[in-house]
Point group: C2
């Protein structure tokens, strides 16, 4: 096995977020479930956008946010995702490269525009997402560079990628390429609604030994196990993966690796402005910690530090110097 | 003269801002003058964008920001400006309408994209702007709706609009339509570099009686008068317009109308994050105050309150409820 050239290669939907404040009543009027990610078609995205207030646009996408965080921590990150040859595609490409992430997927014209996620931030800082997948659903297996996958110590995938059919196949192919090269595969369950859509597929991936490091939050691990009890759900899943990482919002996070178990509290945060990206940046911190050879506990703390930073401002990519933040807290 | 349907109709460049933090060294390396707005072509905009860090996109444009502020204060605002039929044009259109501003200028395909302004925010919160005018320079006189201009109590124009030739002609036409309908014309000098480019043109506009309300900051009024002394510059210009409004950053603002002179201090602001839009929002507050029949001093205070809000966050459009802010401070 050759020395890895990248620490983490993330594959996911390439999305530009359109972020706007919205009152609670907006969610009620639109019949939206707070905290959930809903897939919408272009017509519905346009209709909803017309109803939304003035927004800002910022590059997003769950696994892309994680890649940006890994790079911001000084580790070597790459990203694979499909954009269209349009302005938002240029924005996505610029932003992820500006973070130092290797991004080589060519824009492709499938007659649809770059993916957008309409993010509604309610006064309690929670985000409700409506995603138009656009070009990102056309991530074909042909867009993968096998040599790039083989060169990364960890391949990281988002559960959301299970939604588009083409990307689902590309994801499985990428996992197999990574494992054949002796690399680790990390996977995030993304959200409970995604699990409801794909529980059997996710469990088949995990039961089939295709996932080494699994990321979930409290609700997601229970949804995956279909067990409404946290410790029981943990017990059911933990032996199926090498490392199980579970975040619990203000209650901190847990990692279990075989017989080892580590727990950390949440990091203090001044004002929670927008929770978008909290899970993505937690994963970034944990993975970068693992890449640096840190312990389970130290890796969890890196995740908690990164998550605390990203929820202190609008947008799902880090703004502060994460490397300096971690150095100040952990040394 | 019929009762106006709009309080303020603003005409200006229709621009989407791309905002990114930049160290002081970036300005030095690129030979950029802090605080200035530089016009760049598409090639240079692309080159500079490649050098910039991860950004956020937010609708901007000087007069458009003012229109958004006027509407946020509960007054009736319209905007005229040219976008292209592309994604950033959709973003601009959505955002200004979401603020309640009447915006009816049709997107037009002149083979160029919607205008972008690359805004570099240095750690001292000052912004340095590089504008690619794109579609906004093709604001043709044919895009004007004379009935709309005649229906607005105040026509508001940005000095930046003097840069593109077609828009310059449209601006003069709009002024004449407004004056023939018995309406007021307000004008902002935009920035000192803009004045250097167009001092004769601006002075001809003002000397010709085409400007009723003139907005400037301290440096701009001195640049216009070509007199490096504040009070002397004021004395030279004040009798050429009905109302002269001059902002002085942390020193507050002054308005002179004939023999009347009002001064107010700057409003307190917690942390200055990004000064983009300070002048635009000051103008919004002053104009809305005038529309509400307030005194010079009260109108200045409204301007100061709006400017303080917009510099407390990234982006040049108000985020807080300006109407509530003014009600709390002024009643």
């Amino acid at each position: 096995m050759t020395e890895p050239r990248l620490d983490v290669l993330a594959i996911g939907n390439a999305i530009v977020d359109v972020i706007a404040d919205a009152p609670e009543s907006f969610l009620e009027d639109e019949g939206l479930t707070k905290g959930a990610m809903l897939l919408v078609d272009e017509e519905e995205a346009t209709r909803l956008y017309d109803q939304m207030g003035q927004g800002i646009e910022a590059s997003g996408g769950s696994a892309a946010n994680t890649a940006a965080g890994v790079a911001a921590l000084g580790a070597r990150a790459g990203f694979v995702g499909q954009v269209a040859p349009d302005q938002l595609g240029e924005v996505f490409t610029h932003d992820i490269r500006a973070k130092g992430v290797e991004f080589a997927t060519e824009p492709a014209d499938f007659g649809v525009s770059t993916a957008r996620c309409l993010v509604l931030v309610t006064p309690d800082a929670h985000r409700t997402m409506n995603t138009y997948l656009g070009a990102s659903q056309y991530l074909m297996v042909e867009a993968l560079d096998e040599a790039q996958i083989e060169s990364a110590a960890i391949l990281y995938l988002e559960g959301y990628l299970w939604d588009p059919g083409a990307a689902r196949y590309a994801m499985i192919k990428a996992i197999d390429v990574a494992h054949q090269a002796g690399r680790q595969v990390a996977f995030t369950l993304s959200d409970t609604f995604c699990i409801e859509r794909h529980r059997d597929g996710f469990n088949a991936l995990i039961d089939g030994g295709r996932v080494d490091i699994l990321f979930a939050n409290e609700a997601e691990i229970q949804a995956l196990a279909a067990i409404p009890n946290f410790e029981q759900a943990l017990a059911t899943v933990k032996d199926k993966v090498k490392i199980l990482v579970v975040t619990r919002s203000e209650k901190g996070a847990i990692a279990i690796a075989g017989d080892a178990r580590a727990e950390v509290p949440a990091e203090p945060v001044g004002q929670v402005v927008d929770t978008t990206g909290a899970g993505d940046l937690f994963a970034a911190g944990f993975l970068a910690g693992q890449a640096q050879g840190r312990s389970l506990e130290q890796s969890l703390r890196m995740g908690a530090i990164c998550a605390a930073e990203v929820i202190s401002h609008y947008g799902a990519r880090p703004e502060a110097d994460l490397k300096a933040l971690v150095a100040a807290r952990l040394g």
